[in-house]
């Protein structure tokens, strides 16, 4: 018998090719006659385009064309890139054109596309494109942009508010009026980026006879790109195919649609040659979406036992120059604030504001890390003021497992109430505290202090909406040679779909995962698809694969029963064969059944099964499923240099049933490292004119192998009742919980100096600055 695959830490099918240098990333694709594109980008954060002179660039030998807005096809000129998630709260739905028309609104916005025989030549010529700009006032700070006297981010607009909406639960003001304690915190979280190691890129090829495109793109969802291309080029469904090959990390921003894809497609059509564009790292800093600039002004009301009575305040969220994802980020943030705590009254005024900076769209965590930092800062404040242990304050406020399913009282973006499906938050924190020897920390801290060393510990709790709908597609097909293939719209960037989705399908046929091929992110294979982001693929694609494979297995048994003239109940499907339970030697192989299933020319199938040994499923979840976690960070802060080092790190997490524990561990540990960057290192700096100044890895610091902790993992498993396999998402929790825990630990280490923190990241410079005179050794 072949052992069940689900739940086992099987080695990945993806690995061998990637380890031998045989991966196929977008820049590895070479098509005959292919040309190369480079972009002329705005050097100004805000300017009017007065004139573009292409002549010098066009004179460079090997240059084929220079495209500006006026050169784009009519259908591309008459519409902006699509706003994929419209919402009535969006008052000013500004979106960019594929090339800037007459105004540029962030430094790096594409103005012209140069196409040449090589990238070297294209870059030479791009420097010779003369653009006359009339600089306009630029706004780089979202608080300043929100001011009613602020210069407009988009010339002529009345305000810089993209959207504003309230979130209300209960009667918050009344709860505050009778509260024993009210504390106020102003919290700032700074913008960072995904900084996948493979930059963005695409290859567009155009077939003149059919007027059709094939676009290869480093994306997180081929079908959404196809939809955008169809709309922009006004083409039929048959005329665009998007293929996502191996992708070198995504973390959110590769799920967006970008102008460069349109421009190289337009170039490929005009020149009738394939065109490649690979983003370089400088462009990546300028023109790939980022996230996390948020300013919070918050109050928490608690009773004398530190039980939360209410939370209220204002969130100013920076959307950057445009709103490609509408209000997705601030809405997720606002609905993530309550987390695992009972908060009977909650009121938030959410304002999404334009600035002359690259757009913000989801980056690993997608608005949730900010919410968790904010809520956990408030919880630490309560503990400090009431002189209680920080974990104890949290324990007193947890939603109890017997309250599940728990209605938070908030309405989610889809109009449905936020309802936690399952989870045991007190148990999760208790497990994390035990694994991290939280109790023993006081002694460790005291011992260290006696030696002049400063240790701190921090705890954070998260509840994360995962498995967002609407659906993901999966087709399971067994061909007439017996080979099993799974096709899905899910589009991985390292999440191991080849392995995990094969594990789900393999079990239905009693085969090894090597006998199940998984094809992802090719719009020619499945009609619909959403993509891989938002910790949604296990739930959506996993459930669809499970349903489709189950249906195919059932169909195989039905067909075999007819072929063998027996009852289905007498049959079992094992080792790729439908056989008699009573006589395993007697059966029909999947190959034989597949041949039968497609019928034979001239023989009617009327009244029988629909043809083909295949099934397509689109699991459509009723709502999100809620994963949870507790992070405990233990750090040492060098008060002379401000350096923070990790002594221990513990993450307890619950993502429901686990398809492959090795893969889940990898997701959580990797997510923590991203959080380390957001907590301590990553700072995207803009000057007063909204000019980005940290545009390389010397200035923008990613965490290194020497910076990240060894993460001790604790697994809890509360199956979700809302999908057939009991799954929840695992891809983002590591990041969502870690920033708050690390900031809390640093603050705890600096407690002897009275330093409090209300921001992330906290750099060494900032720590030294906050220590001020104390850094010289004069403690209070």
């Amino acid at each position: 018998m072949v052992e069940k695959s689900f739940g086992r830490p099987l080695k990945r099918k993806e690995d061998p090719a990637l380890l031998r240098g045989e991966g196929r990333f977008v820049d590895d694709i070479h098509l005959a006659g292919m040309l190369h594109a480079a972009f002329v980008r705005s050097p100004h954060a805000h300017a009017r385009i007065v004139r573009v002179d292409k002549r010098a660039a066009l004179a460079v030998p090997g240059v084929h064309a220079v495209f500006v807005f006026a050169d784009l096809p009519e259908s591309v000129r008459r519409q902006t890139l699509p706003l994929l998630m419209p919402h009535p709260a969006i008052k000013q739905p500004f979106m960019p054109y594929a090339l800037a028309k007459d105004e540029v609104c962030y430094a790096g916005e594409p103005v012209a596309c140069v196409v040449a025989d090589s990238r070297y030549l294209a870059e030479d010529a791009a420097q010779l494109v003369e653009v006359d700009y009339e600089p306009l006032p630029a706004v780089g700070d979202c608080r300043a942009a929100f001011d009613k006297d602020a210069s407009p981010v988009h010339a002529g607009s009345e305000s810089n508010v993209a959207a504003r909406f309230p979130v209300k639960v209960g009667d918050t003001d009344r709860a505050f009026s009778g509260a024993a304690h009210v504390f106020r915190e102003k919290i700032y979280q700074h913008r960072g980026g995904a900084f996948f190691i493979e930059c963005r890129g695409a290859v567009a090829s155009h077939e003149a006879p059919t007027g059709s495109f094939t676009l290869y793109a480093a994306s997180q969802g081929s079908h959404r790109l196809k939809r955008c291309m169809l709309e922009l080029f006004d083409l039929g469904d048959n005329q665009v195919r998007v293929i996502t090959p191996d992708v070198g990390g995504g973390f959110g921003p590769k799920a967006s649609f970008y102008p460069e894809y349109v421009d190289i497609a337009a170039a490929a059509m005009a020149l009738n040659r394939p065109v490649k564009w690979i983003e370089d790292r400088r462009e990546n800093f300028l023109a790939t979406h980022q996230e996390r600039d948020q300013y919070w002004d918050m109050e928490i009301a608690v009773d004398s036992d530190a039980k939360i009575l209410g939370v209220r305040g204002q969130l100013i969220h920076e959307t950057g120059a445009y709103v490609p994802m509408g209000i997705v980020l601030p809405w997720i943030t606002a609905t993530t604030v309550p987390g695992p705590y009972v908060i009977p009254n909650y009121k938030l005024d959410v304002v999404s504001v334009f600035t002359n900076k690259i757009q913000t769209t989801p980056v690993r965590g997608a608005g949730r890390p900010e919410a968790v930092v904010t809520m956990e800062r408030l919880m630490d404040r309560v503990a400090r003021e009431l002189k209680l242990d920080r974990a104890e304050v949290r324990r007193r406020n947890f939603i109890r497992p017997e309250q599940m399913p728990y209605q938070v009282g908030i309405i989610f973006r889809d109009g449905r109430p936020v309802t936690y499906d399952s989870g045991d938050y007190p148990a999760c924190q208790a497990a994390a505290l035990e694994a991290s020897d939280y109790e023993g920390f006081k002694l460790r801290q005291a011992d260290a202090r006696a030696q002049g060393r400063y240790l701190g510990i921090g705890v954070s709790n998260t509840v994360e909406a995962t498995g967002l709908g609407p659906y993901e597609s999966a087709t399971v097909r067994i061909s007439t040679n017996g080979r099993i293939v799974v096709y899905t719209g899910a589009t991985p960037q390292g999440q191991s779909h080849q392995t995990t989705l094969a594990q789900i399908a393999a079990d239905q046929f009693g085969v090894d995962i090597k006998d199940v091929a998984v094809v992802t992110g090719d719009t020619a294979t499945v009609a619909l698809g959403i993509g891989t982001f938002a910790a949604r693929t296990a739930v959506n694609a996993g459930s669809s694969v499970h349903i489709a494979a189950t249906e195919v297995a059932a169909k195989a048994k039905q067909i075999a029963a007819g072929m063998m003239e027996c009852l289905e109940d007498d049959l079992e499907l094992a080792e790729g064969t439908v056989r008699l339970k009573s006589a395993p030697d007697v059966g029909k192989s999947l190959r034989e059944i597949a041949v039968k299933s497609i019928g034979m020319l001239g023989f009617s199938m009327a009244g029988g099964f629909p043809p083909g040994l295949e099934h397509t499923a689109h699991f459509t979840p009723e709502q999100s499923v809620y994963a949870n976690g507790t992070h405990v960070a233990e750090v040492e802060v060098d008060i002379e240099t401000g350096a923070v080092s990790f002594l221990r790190y513990t993450a307890a997490h619950d993502c429901g049933r686990v398809i492959n524990p090795m893969v889940v561990d990898g997701q959580v540990v990797g997510g923590v490292a991203h959080g380390v960057g957001n907590a301590l290192y990553e700072r995207m700096v803009y000057d007063e004119n909204a000019q980005p100044v940290s545009i390389n890895f010397g200035e923008y610091l990613l965490p290194l192998a020497t910076d990240v902790p060894h993460v001790d993992l604790v697994h809890l498993e509360t199956p979700s009742p809302l999908n057939p396999l009991g799954l929840k998402g695992a891809g983002e929790g590591g990041t969502i919980g870690s920033i708050a825990a690390i900031v809390s630990a640093v603050e705890n280490a600096l407690a002897p100096f009275g330093v409090t923190l209300a921001e992330a990241p906290v750099s060494p410079q900032r720590i030294v600055e906050l220590l001020g005179e104390h850094a010289l050794g004069r403690t209070r």
Partner: protein, 160 residues
């Protein structure tokens, strides 16, 4: 007309003679002239390490070198680490320890560690983290890469 030179470079034991532009980087030469696309380009300013190759046995950033600087040199890239269809002990340790997710930084990690484990066959975890600090990974949090390196060192010492 662009300035060109004719160079001879041996890569993974095979000699290649090509006329190249003097300004072409070694990374672009390997990837686009020799079609050895296993060497990846992640930052083009020498920080991320995805393009790391061995030149005369010493690791170097292929994005920071010109192809013409390698005239007469012998190089090893990720494609040269193991025979076709095989994984060497280091690659196998990456596979067994989930040392890669997207796999884009992996070639650079493997090359860096190939040199390191050759010179330091019994490293500590701290030493492994130190040598890996020149290679960026955004997926794994480095922990499984460190585990893979220590596992590989053990396998190599035991004659795997």
């Amino acid at each position: 007309m662009a300035d060109t030179r004719t160079i001879t470079v041996t890569v993974n034991g095979k000699a290649h003679r090509r006329e190249v532009e003097t300004r072409m980087t070694l990374a672009d030469f390997l990837r686009h002239e020799l079609e050895l696309t296993g060497t990846h380009v992640g930052c083009e300013h020498g920080v991320c390490g995805a393009c790391t190759v061995l030149i005369g046995g010493a690791s170097a950033r292929a994005c920071l070198m010109l192809a013409v600087q390698c005239d007469g040199e012998s190089l090893t890239t990720v494609e040269g680490l193991s025979a076709a269809e095989q994984l060497n002990p280091l690659q196998q340790a990456f596979h067994d320890n989930h040392g890669l997710q997207c796999g884009f930084c992996t070639p650079g990690m493997l090359i860096t560690l190939t040199e390191f484990l050759r010179d330091y066959p019994a490293p500590t975890e701290t030493e492994v983290r130190e040598v890996l600090s020149g290679n960026l990974c955004r997926c794994t949090g480095y922990q499984p890469i460190v585990a893979a390196a220590l596992d590989a060192a053990k396998r190599i010492r035991e004659g795997a």
